[in-house]
Structures are given as structure tokens and as C-alpha cells.
């Protein structure tokens, strides 16, 4: 049986930065490395959402999708994406990881940064505190959101 008929997850990153966030995520789950398939960067969050249609989720019941998008400090975007028909239809198989930092928590003063030019070392409790509840990534079956965010340390928005 080819692997596409077994449990697997397709990662759709919005851009280079979110792809690297996904790299950090896959590093955290070595046991399923061959079950994670990364697509090319979609180019924008609307393109990432549009990619869902090509993934034929009705044909492949063991396929899960992880969208990694930049919420650009827009706390309505996640809700909007969730309401799209192609996503709401497979709500239990499509997960969204959004990088988000609310303006009131924006770096540099509030954020633990070692050196300005180095990847930022994130204090997971402070990230947890910084994220509004509805922006917590809905991928509880993988790990908690802050751990995933912490893994993708190259991401500029963290």
C-alpha cells in the first residue's frame, strides 16, 4: 500500500519563514518524518488556503493538512480561514498554525531576546501569555502551540 493511503500530513507553508517554522515542527517528531509531506511555499495565505482543493481530502481519508500561515497581527484571519467552505468541510482534518503576535506584546521590550541579530530565544510561558486563546494553534494532537512556535526559531515574527 503506498504511503499516501496511510496516515500522513501535508504541510502547506505560506512562505519561506513559515516553511522554516514547519522544519522546526518536523524536527520535533522524528518518528513520523516520512509521513510529513511539505509542499512548496504557497506565496500568500489566500494561496495556501486555495491549495486545499488540490489535495483531494475526500479521496484520501488518511490525509491531514497543516496550514502554516502568518496572521500578520490580524486576529480575525484565523476565524475567516476556518469559515472557508473547503476548510470547514474537513474541519477535523485541517489544522492551522498561525504565527501571531499582538501589538501590545510586540518586541523588543516585552520579549526575551538574547542578541538582536540572533534567532530569538522564546520563553514559552511568555508566548503562551502573549497569544489570545483563539489564536492558539489547533493541533493539540501534535504538541502544544508554544512548543511548536519555539521549534521554529528562525521565524521572524516570534
Amino acid at each position: 500500500m503506498p504511503n499516501r493511503h496511510k496516515w500522513h500530513i501535508v504541510v502547506v507553508p505560506e512562505d519561506d519563514a513559515t516553511r522554516q517554522l514547519g522544519n522546526g515542527l518536523s524536527n520535533a517528531f522524528p518518528a513520523i518524518a516520512t509521513r510529513i509531506k511539505f509542499l512548496r511555499e504557497a506565496g500568500g495565505w489566500t494561496d495556501a488556503v486555495a491549495t486545499i482543493k488540490d489535495l483531494e481530502l475526500d479521496k484520501y481519508p488518511n490525509r491531514r493538512v497543516l496550514l502554516i500561515i502568518d496572521l500578520d497581527q490580524d486576529d480575525t484571519r484565523l476565524k475567516f480561514i476556518r469559515s472557508q467552505p473547503e476548510i470547514s468541510k474537513f474541519n477535523n482534518r485541517i489544522f492551522i498554525l498561525g504565527s501571531f503576535i499582538a501589538a501590545e506584546y510586540a518586541p523588543p521590550e516585552n520579549f526575551p531576546v538574547t542578541e538582536p541579530d540572533k534567532p530569538r530565544i522564546v520563553d514559552r510561558n511568555r508566548v503562551r501569555a502573549a497569544l489570545p486563546p483563539h489564536c492558539m494553534p489547533a493541533i493539540a494532537d501534535f504538541a502544544t502551540g508554544p512548543e511548536i512556535l519555539e521549534s521554529g526559531r528562525s521565524h521572524e515574527n516570534i
Partner: protein
């Protein structure tokens, strides 16, 4: 793990230094002829020296054409810093080619551990502690110095000997073991089956790890066997399962990509079961199906990261490149065939200096990423 390499006057590498970043794994990008594979060539020379093949004049080691832009007026210099069990080993070799000579000569050679000399050499004179002896100046001293297993010279040599340096050519991989084969995996992996048989003899527990790895990529794979085909030769066969029955396929009859997946399974199993494994793989994307590539590179990277190994990869393939991040992807730049390779830059540095925020895939396709100005 390798911390630093310094090279001078070797092919296009002039006064070239590579310091490993925070992530010891690395991806090397660059246009053809930029110098990526020269780095692999240098490591293969050092490996051959460590394995006792210490003459430098073999055609597969050094010729006059390997001297860089300064020609034979300047020596070739190789320096390598390796950290093993929190000790820093620094080895250097200076190889000149006097006009009246027919083969290269070692001008200087030295090994230091944590700043303390294990041995030093000036032309034919070798100093080991207070002892001084002479040695033919056409051969390296590293492999001939007598050392106990726990001696730093031996630890360093073993590390170099066990480097996995590969640019595999599946069509050249023989399907049977051969007693005449070297026990070290050769550059194009032609002796892979002999090497596999040898490592399974030493570490039988690797069998299960290899089989499990292959099954992840080829779900109908069952197991593999070595089948006697003569007094001194054994053929490698893979057994696949279908509808409760088995059928076997000789390794030699596998597709090129399947051969490489099997080879990667052996590399994976070694990196998984031993600490500090170093592997330099030149273009692993060749021959492997594009749908398997990202799973393959992520699995390898995970394995090397978790077991303190070090994986260096040269690739032009976007699926492989996507498995790495901006801070462990290094760009080789060279302006032309009459110019030396420029100092390496990570993609993160490239983004910063060029104020580049676009897609890496696009920059690779357009070649903009190789625009050094």
C-alpha cells in the same frame, strides 16, 4: 564534529575558511564549479591518508592540476578542526611541489589536541614529544605514528577513517560482495554490498534499523538476505511481500532510486546507533522520487541531530533545500573560472546584506541567490 576547515591554493579554494555555525549540519548551495565538491574532495584525501593510503601522488589524490591560482609556487594547505568528546583536534598539512620533483612533498604537518602538540613535522623531520625521526617526505605521517587505542592520534585517525563521504552512482553499485573490496565505503558507493555485509558483521543489530527504515519508504518491503553464490561471494536480495506470499529481487535489479534508499537506510542506521557520525553526501536528490525526497531528508536530518551526528549535503534540488533553514544553508559564490570561491555566506546573511525577503525557490531558479556582486 567538524568545527572548521581552512584551505589554501587547492583548485578554486584560495585562503578559504569554513566555520560551522550554530547548527552543525549544513547544506551547500552554489552554481556548478563554485567549489562545493572540492570540499568533499579534500575530506576524501584526508580520509585516505587516515586509512593508511598515505602517498599523495596517486591520481585520485593530488596532481599538479589540483594546485590553485598560485600554481605550485605555493603549497596546498588543508587544516581541519574536529571536536570529539569535547576535545578539539587540529590537523594541518602543507603540500608543496618543488619544480624539480615528480610528485608532491609534505612541507609541514601537525596534529594538536586542545592546543597541545601530538606531533609536528618539518619536511622529513617528525617530532613526537621529545623523539625526532625522519620520514620520506612524500608520505603523510598521520597514519604511521604508533598509538594506543585511547591515544589522541588514534582517536583522530579513527574519526577521519569513519567519515561517510558519498557521491553515489547507483549503476556502479555491485550486487554481490567481493573479497577484494575495501571495507570502507567508496566515493561512488560501488562496494556498497561488501561494505554493508562488513558493517552487519560488526554490528548485527543494525539489520532491524535498516529494514524498518526501508519499509517506511517501500511499504511492501519485507526483509533482505545475503545469498551464497560462490565460495567467497554473496548476493544481496530483497524480499517483498504480496498477498501473504514473498518474492525476491536481487539488489542489482532494483531501480537506481531504490538502491539509494537502501544505501540511505544503512547510513541512517549507523547514525542512529553511533554517536558523532559524519556524513557528507553530494547530491542525495539524484535518482530518488520527488515525492519521497522531503521525507528522506527530514528523516536523515532528524536522525543526525538526535544522535550528535553531522550531515553535510550538496544539493540543487528544492525539496532537499527546503528541509534546511536559512541559518544552516551556505552559499558558494564564484565570479568565474579565473576567480577563487568567495567567503561562504548563509542564506540568512544573504537576506540581510541584500535586503532580500522574497521566495528562496524563486531566487534559486533565477540564480539571483548566486549573485555575489
Amino acid at each position: 564534529m567538524i568545527k572548521r576547515m581552512y584551505v589554501d591554493n587547492f583548485r578554486c579554494l584560495t585562503n578559504f575558511e569554513f566555520k560551522v555555525g550554530e547548527d552543525k549540519n549544513a547544506l551547500f548551495l552554489g552554481e556548478n564549479g563554485a567549489g562545493k565538491s572540492s570540499l568533499l574532495k579534500i575530506l576524501s584525501i584526508l580520509k585516505k591518508i587516515a586509512r593508511g593510503n598515505n602517498g599523495l601522488a596517486d591520481k585520485d589524490k593530488l596532481t599538479k592540476q589540483d594546485y590553485g591560482f598560485a600554481g605550485t609556487k605555493k603549497p596546498i594547505v588543508f587544516e581541519i578542526d574536529i571536536e570529539i568528546s569535547q576535545r578539539l583536534f587540529t590537523y594541518g598539512i602543507w603540500i608543496d611541489y618543488p619544480e624539480t620533483f615528480f610528485k608532491p612533498r609534505i612541507k609541514k604537518e601537525q596534529l594538536f589536541v586542545d592546543g597541545k602538540a601530538c606531533f609536528t613535522r618539518n619536511l622529513a623531520d617528525i617530532s613526537v614529544g621529545k623523539a625526532v625521526f625522519s620520514l620520506d617526505w612524500h608520505i603523510a605521517a598521520l597514519p604511521i605514528i604508533q598509538a594506543h587505542p585511547s591515544d589522541p592520534v588514534n582517536i583522530f585517525r579513527d574519526w577521519l577513517k569513519n567519515m561517510l563521504l558519498m557521491a553515489p552512482v547507483p549503476a556502479q553499485i555491485k550486487g554481490e560482495t567481493d573479497d577484494n573490496d575495501d571495507v570502507a565505503l567508496d566515493f561512488c558507493a560501488s562496494n556498497f554490498v561488501s561494505w554493508l555485509s562488513s558493517i552487519l558483521g560488526q554490528y548485527p543489530h543494525l539489520y532491524g534499523n535498516i529494514a524498518q527504515y526501508i519499509k517506511e519508504f517501500l511499504p511492501d518491503f519485507g526483509h533482505f538476505i545475503f545469498f551464497d553464490v560462490g565460495k567467497d561471494s554473496r548476493e544481496l536480495k530483497l524480499i517483498f511481500e504480496k498477498n501473504g506470499g514473498d518474492f525476491s529481487i536481487p539488489f542489482e535489479k532494483l531501480s537506481d532510486g531504490e538502491k539509494l534508499l537502501f544505501l540511505s537506510g544503512a547510513v541512517f542506521a549507523i547514525a542512529q546507533s553511533r554517536k558523532n557520525v559524519f556524513c557528507f553526501w553530494d547530491e542525495p536528490n539524484n535518482y530518488i522520487s520527488v515525492s519521497l525526497l522531503d521525507g528522506f531528508i527530514r528523516k536523515m536530518l532528524n536522525c543526525f541531530k538526535q544522535n550528535d551526528g553531522q550531515l553535510w549535503v550538496v544539493s540543487h534540488n528544492i525539496e532537499i533545500i527546503s528541509g534546511f533553514n536559512d541559518d544552516n544553508s551556505w552559499i558558494f559564490h564564484r565570479n568565474g573560472h579565473t576567480d577563487a570561491t568567495l567567503p561562504l555566506q548563509t542564506i540568512a546573511e544573504f537576506r540581510k546584506t541584500k535586503n532580500f525577503t522574497g521566495s528562496l525557490a524563486t531566487a534559486l531558479l533565477t540564480g539571483d541567490i548566486y549573485d555575489a556582486e
